[in-house]
C-alpha cells in the first residue's frame, strides 16, 4: 500500500479509469444501440424475421396471392409467329388508337384464350379477403413473382382490348377491374422493387383503360366502378411506396450488421468484431437510418415536395469524399430521387380519374366540363391535383376528336399535352386521352 500512496499513485488513477471504462463498455453491450432505437422510433422492423412476422401470409386459404402464384406457373406464350403479331404482351408495339389487322386481332384473341385458366385464377384470387406474397420472398433475390406479375398486367390488358374489340363490355369491365386491382398484391410488405413493379402494372392498367375507351363507350356504372377503384389509397397516396421504403430499410440495414440476406455469411464474426472495436459503421449506419427516415416521411408530405426532393435536400455532399460513407453515397442519392418516378404514377391516376369523372359529367350534362374544378360537384371529392406543380390542378384541353387530360410531368414544363417522343425522361407531359363520341356543346 505504501507504493500506491507514493510513486505509484498514478496506478490508482489508472485502475479507477480502467474500472470506469470497463463499466461503460459492459453497459454499452447491454443497452439498445442508438441505431436500433432510431429504427424502432421510425416503426421499421429490425430483422427479416420480424418483417416476415409482420407481413405473414397466413391464413393461406384466404390469401389470394397463392392463387396468383399458381397462375404464374400456368401462363403460356404464343409461338413465334403469333408472338410477333401480338400487341401489348408480344413483340408488336401498340400505339394508342392503332387499328389492328385481322392477324393481330387473331393473335390477341388466341393469346387470351390460351391463358383462360390463368385469367380465371386471377379473378378467383381477387375474390379472396387479402392478397400477400409468402414470407419466402425475403429469403432470396429470386424475382420470378415480379416478372410474372407484369405478365399478368399485360395479359389482362390484352384480354380487355380483345373484349373491347369484340364489343364485349362485361368482359372488358372484368378485365379492366382485375388489371386495376392487380397491384393490391404488392400493397403490404413489399420492397422498393415491388413498389416499382406495382407502378408498372398500374401504368399498364391505366393505358389499358385508355386503349379500351378509344373503341368502346362503357356504361355509367362501369365508369363509376373504375373511378371507385382509382380513388383507392394505392392510386391517391404514397403509402404503399412508404411501406416499401420502410421494408427496404430493414432489408438493407442488415449490411451494417454484417449479415446478408441469406443469414450469416462466412467470416461475419470477424467483420462484426472489427466493426465493433473500430466503430467504423456507427456514423454511416445512423446516417443511413436518418436519411431513410427522411425519405419515408417525405411520402406524408406534399406530392410536389416529394417529387422534387433530391439528395442535396437530405445528404451532405461531403459523404461523396469519404470511403467511410461509401455505401450511403452509392445507394441513398438514387433512393431520394425514386419518388419522382413513383409520383408519375400518381399523376397518371389523377389524369384518368379526371377523364372518367368528365365522362360522367358529359353523360349527365351532355357536355364536357369547362374547368376541371367543376368535377367536384358529385364526381370527384377534390379538384384533380397535378403532383408535379406546387399547387395547380391538372391541365385539360379539347380538340375536335378528343379530350386530353394531362400533368406537366417531372420536367415541370407545360408541353400542351404532348407525349414524350421516346421516354418520359426526355420531357413531355403525362396524358390521358378520351375520344369524344357524343355531341358536345364545347366541341
Amino acid at each position: 500500500m505504501r507504493y500506491f500512496s507514493g510513486r505509484l499513485r498514478w496506478l490508482v488513477y489508472v485502475a479507477t479509469g480502467f474500472a470506469v471504462l470497463f463499466a461503460c463498455f459492459v453497459y454499452d453491450t447491454r443497452r439498445e444501440p442508438t441505431s436500433e432505437r432510431q429504427l424502432r422510433n421510425a416503426g421499421i422492423a429490425f430483422t427479416i424475421q420480424e418483417l416476415k412476422a409482420r407481413y405473414t401470409s397466413e391464413p393461406k386459404q384466404d390469401n389470394g396471392a397463392f392463387l396468383y402464384l399458381r397462375a404464374m406457373g400456368k401462363i403460356k406464350n404464343l409461338d413465334h409467329a403469333g408472338f410477333v403479331q401480338l400487341p401489348i404482351a408480344g413483340d408488336l408495339i401498340y400505339e394508342y388508337g392503332q387499328v389492328l389487322t385481322r392477324e393481330q386481332q387473331d393473335a390477341l384473341h388466341a393469346y387470351v384464350v390460351l391463358n383462360d385458366a390463368v385469367i380465371a385464377l386471377i379473378l378467383e384470387a381477387q375474390t379472396r379477403p387479402f392478397s400477400r406474397f409468402p414470407e419466402s420472398r425475403y429469403d432470396s433475390f429470386e424475382m420470378n413473382h415480379l416478372a410474372h406479375s407484369r405478365d399478368f398486367g399485360r395479359l389482362l390488358a390484352c384480354a380487355a382490348l380483345d373484349a373491347a374489340l369484340s364489343d364485349d363490355i362485361t368482359t372488358m369491365d372484368q378485365m379492366i377491374v382485375a388489371g386495376l386491382r392487380l397491384p393490391e398484391v404488392f400493397s403490404e410488405g413489399g420492397l422498393l422493387i415491388d413498389a416499382l413493379v406495382a407502378n408498372a402494372i398500374r401504368s399498364i392498367a391505366i393505358s389499358s383503360v385508355e386503349n379500351c375507351l378509344y373503341f368502346v363507350t362503357p356504361p355509367q356504372e362501369t365508369v363509376r366502378t373504375w373511378l371507385d377503384i382509382l380513388g383507392q389509397d394505392q392510386y391517391t397516396t404514397l403509402h404503399m411506396q412508404q411501406d416499401a421504403f420502410r421494408n427496404e430499410t430493414t432489408y438493407y440495414h442488415r449490411y451494417f450488421a454484417a449479415d446478408d440476406f441469406l443469414g450469416k455469411h462466412h467470416g461475419y464474426e470477424g467483420i462484426n468484431i472489427a466493426a465493433e472495436w473500430t466503430q467504423y459503421n456507427y456514423f454511416s449506419y445512423n446516417q443511413y437510418i436518418q436519411v431513410m427516415s427522411a425519405i419515408i416521411n417525405a411520402a406524408d408530405k406534399d406530392f410536389y415536395a416529394a417529387a422534387t426532393m433530391s439528395e442535396n435536400d437530405i445528404l451532405s455532399k461531403d459523404i461523396l469524399n469519404s470511403p467511410r460513407y461509401a455505401l450511403n453515397a452509392i445507394e441513398l442519392p438514387a433512393l431520394t430521387r425514386v419518388y419522382s418516378s413513383l409520383i408519375r404514377n400518381i399523376a397518371q391516376a389523377s389524369t384518368i380519374r379526371a377523364a372518367l369523372a368528365s365522362l360522367l359529367y358529359l353523360d349527365y350534362y351532355g357536355k364536357m366540363p369547362d374547368r376541371l374544378e367543376d368535377l367536384t360537384s358529385g364526381w370527384l371529392p377534390v379538384p384533380p391535383r397535378d403532383p408535379f406543380t406546387p399547387d395547380d390542378i391538372l391541365r385539360y384541353h379539347l380538340t375536335d376528336t378528343q379530350a386530353v387530360f394531362y400533368s406537366i410531368g417531372p420536367d415541370e414544363q407545360d408541353n400542351d399535352g404532348e407525349e414524350p417522343e421516346e421516354s418520359i425522361l426526355q420531357g413531355g407531359d403525362i396524358i390521358f386521352r378520351v375520344p369524344l363520341t357524343k355531341p358536345d356543346n364545347n366541341v
Binding site: 507514493g6 498514478w10 459492459v26 467470416g267 470477424g270 456514423f283 461531403d318 470511403p323 460513407y325
Partner: protein, 523 residues
C-alpha cells in the same frame, strides 16, 4: 611492408564483391528459372517481363547491405567505423576507396542484372532505366545517412520539413492538393535536380566524416533532442527513493516514460498536416478520428527504440531482472495511459471536426437522442484497440514477444492465403481457433518457463495471470460481438498476449545482463 591502401582496398573489395556476387548469382538463378518456366509454358510473357524488373530489387537490397558492416562484437551496424581514422591513409583517399569500391561493385551488379533482364522476352532498356537508377540513388542516400545522420541529422529531416512547409504555404495560398503535388513532382523530376542528388550526397557524406573526425555536431543531435526538454513535464520529480525498485521506476519513467505521449502528439500533428496536404476537405474523409490512434501505434514503434538504455549501467543496479522488467513495464504503462488519454482527446476533437459526423449527431439530438455516450464509445473503443496494439508493438524488441507475434502473423497470413476461395468456409474457424491456441499456449509457456527458471517470481506469475484474467473479462464482457465460448476464448487469447510482455521482458533483461553472445537465449 604491405601498403595500407592494399589492405583497405582488399577489405572493401572483398566485402562489396561478395555481397554483389551473391546477389548477382541470385538474379541469375531467378532469370534462369523464369526462362525454364517460360519455355515450359508455365509463365506468360508479361510475367516474364515483370521478373526482368523484379531482379532489380536485389540491387536495392544490395545498396542497403553495402552500407552495413560488422562491428567488433559481430553485430551488423550501419554507422561509422572509428578504426578507419587510425589508418595511415589520408582521409580523402580512404573514403574515396570505400565509396569507389562499393559504387563500382553496385554498378557491376546492375550491369549484370541489365544483361540478364534483356535475355527475357519483351524487355526494353528504356523501361528498366528507372529500376537501374533507384538502387544508385538509394545507395547514395543510405551511405550519406550512415555517415552523417549521427552528427548532423538536421541535413536529412531539415529539407523534408522545409519542403512540407513550402507545400503547406501553397496550400494556405489556396492551391489544391493536386496542383501542389503536380508542382512538387515536376520540380523533383527536373533533370538537374536528379543530377544534383549525387554531388549533394557526396557533400553530406564528406561533412559527416569531417564532423566525426573532429567529434562535433551540426544542429540538434536527433529529433527527440528537440522535445526532450519538455519531457520533464511528463516525468515525476525526483524524490529521495526508499527502495531500489522505486529508484529504478523513477529512472525508467524519466528515461522512456515521456516517449509515447510526446510522439503521439507529434505524429498526430504530422499526420493531420499530411491530411491537410493530401485532401481538399481533410475532415470530410471520416477517418480523422483514427489519426491519433495511428499516431499512437507509430509512437509505440518509436518507443521500442527507447525501450532499453544505451549504457550498460542497468546491469549494475541492485535489483534483479524481474524488478527491472516490472519497473520498465510500469513506466511504459504510465506512458501508454497518458498517450491514450491524449489520443482520446485528440480523436474526439478530430471526430467532431468532421462536418458529416456533426450533422449526424445534430440530427440525432433533433430526433430526441442524446449522443454523448455514443460519442464516448465511438472514441473509446478504437482507442482501447489502438492501445492494445501499441502495447504489443512496444515489446517487439524483446525476442520472446517478437517470436510470439511473428508466429501469429505468419500463421494468420498463411491461413488467409491457403484457405481463400473454395475453403473460405474453413478460414474463419481455422484462423480463430489457431489464433486462440497459439496465443494461449505460447503466452502460458513463456510465463511458466520464466517462472520455473526463476526469471520472474511466483507473485509476478500470479500477477500476470490476474492481469490476463482481468483483461480477458474486460474484452469479453465489454464486447457484443464476442459471443459464446469462442468469444470467451478469443478474449482470453487477447488477455494472454497482453500479459505476456512481463515474462518476455524479464527473460530478455536477464539475457542482456548475462550476455553470453549468440547463445544468450538458449533454453
Amino acid at each position: 611492408m604491405k601498403s595500407p591502401y592494399r589492405a583497405l582496398l582488399w577489405e572493401q573489395a572483398r566485402t562489396a564483391g561478395v555481397i554483389c556476387l551473391l546477389l548477382g548469382v541470385l538474379s541469375c538463378l531467378v532469370v534462369l528459372t523464369a526462362h525454364v518456366l517460360f519455355r515450359m509454358g508455365k509463365l506468360g510473357i508479361m510475367d516474364a517481363r515483370d521478373i526482368g524488373k523484379m531482379i532489380f530489387f536485389f540491387s536495392m537490397a544490395g545498396a542497403a547491405l553495402l552500407v552495413s558492416r560488422q562491428d567488433v562484437r559481430g553485430h551488423i551496424v550501419w554507422g561509422f567505423d572509428q578504426r578507419w581514422f587510425r589508418l595511415p591513409v589520408p582521409l580523402h583517399f580512404l573514403f574515396g576507396i570505400i565509396l569507389g569500391s562499393r559504387a563500382v561493385f553496385l554498378t557491376l551488379l546492375l550491369c549484370v542484372q541489365l544483361l540478364l533482364a534483356l535475355t527475357l522476352p519483351k524487355v526494353k532498356v528504356a523501361e528498366l532505366a528507372i529500376f537501374i537508377a533507384i538502387p544508385l540513388y538509394l545507395y547514395a542516400l543510405l551511405q550519406a545517412a550512415a555517415w552523417a545522420w549521427k552528427r548532423t541529422p538536421i541535413l536529412f529531416y531539415g529539407p523534408v520539413v522545409l519542403m512540407l512547409a513550402l507545400m503547406m504555404t501553397f496550400r494556405f495560398l489556396g492551391l489544391s492538393p493536386d496542383e501542389i503535388f503536380r508542382i512538387t513532382g515536376r520540380t523533383l523530376r527536373e533533370s538537374h535536380t536528379l543530377l544534383l542528388a549525387f554531388p549533394l550526397a557526396g557533400l553530406v557524406m564528406g561533412y559527416g566524416v569531417y564532423l566525426e573526425r573532429h567529434d562535433r555536431y551540426f544542429g540538434p543531435k536527433n529529433l527527440s533532442a528537440l522535445i526532450y526538454p519538455l519531457s520533464w513535464l511528463l516525468s515525476p520529480p525526483l524524490k529521495k527513493p526508499k527502495t531500489a525498485f522505486e529508484a529504478q521506476l523513477w529512472y525508467e519513467m524519466r528515461r522512456a516514460g515521456w516517449v509515447l505521449p510526446v510522439f503521439t502528439i507529434a505524429f498526430t500533428a504530422f499526420f493531420t498536416f499530411v491530411m491537410l496536404l493530401l485532401e481538399e476537405r481533410p475532415f470530410s474523409t471520416g477517418f480523422a478520428q483514427y489519426v491519433p490512434l495511428a499516431a499512437l501505434a507509430a509512437a509505440s514503434l518509436v518507443a521500442v527504440g527507447k525501450l532499453f538504455p544505451r549504457s550498460g549501467m542497468q546491469y549494475l543496479r541492485p535489483i534483479d531482472a524481474s524488478g527491472i522488467a516490472t519497473a520498465r513495464l510500469l513506466a511504459q504503462l504510465r506512458g501508454l495511459c497518458m498517450a491514450m488519454l491524449l489520443a482520446g482527446l485528440m480523436s474526439a476533437a478530430l471526430l467532431l471536426a468532421g462536418p458529416v459526423e456533426r450533422s449526424i449527431l445534430t440530427q440525432l439530438r433533433t430526433d430526441g437522442f442524446n449522443p454523448a455516450f455514443d460519442v464516448f464509445i465511438v472514441v473509446a473503443r478504437p482507442l482501447v484497440l489502438a492501445g492494445m496494439l501499441a502495447w504489443l508493438l512496444l515489446w517487439l524488441k524483446t525476442p520472446p514477444m517478437c517470436m510470439v507475434i511473428c508466429i501469429l502473423v505468419v500463421f494468420l497470413f498463411i491461413s488467409f492465403h491457403v484457405l481463400s476461395g473454395h475453403y473460405a468456409a474453413l478460414r474463419y474457424p481455422v484462423e480463430t481457433y489457431g489464433f486462440i491456441t497459439l496465443s494461449i499456449l505460447l503466452a502460458l509457456a513463456l510465463a511458466l518457463y520464466t517462472q520455473c527458471k526463476g526469471m520472474i517470481s511466483r507473485g509476478q506469475f500470479i500477477a500476470a495471470l490476474c492481469t490476463c484474467a482481468v483483461l480477458s473479462s474486460f474484452i469479453w464482457m465489454g464486447s457484443r460481438s464476442l459471443e459464446g465460448g469462442t468469444g470467451l476464448l478469443l478474449a482470453v487469447a487477447m488477455g494472454a498476449l497482453l500479459a505476456a510482455p512481463l515474462p518476455s521482458l524479464a527473460w530478455f533483461i536477464r539475457a542482456e545482463r548475462h550476455d553470453t553472445g549468440i547463445r544468450r537465449y538458449h533454453i
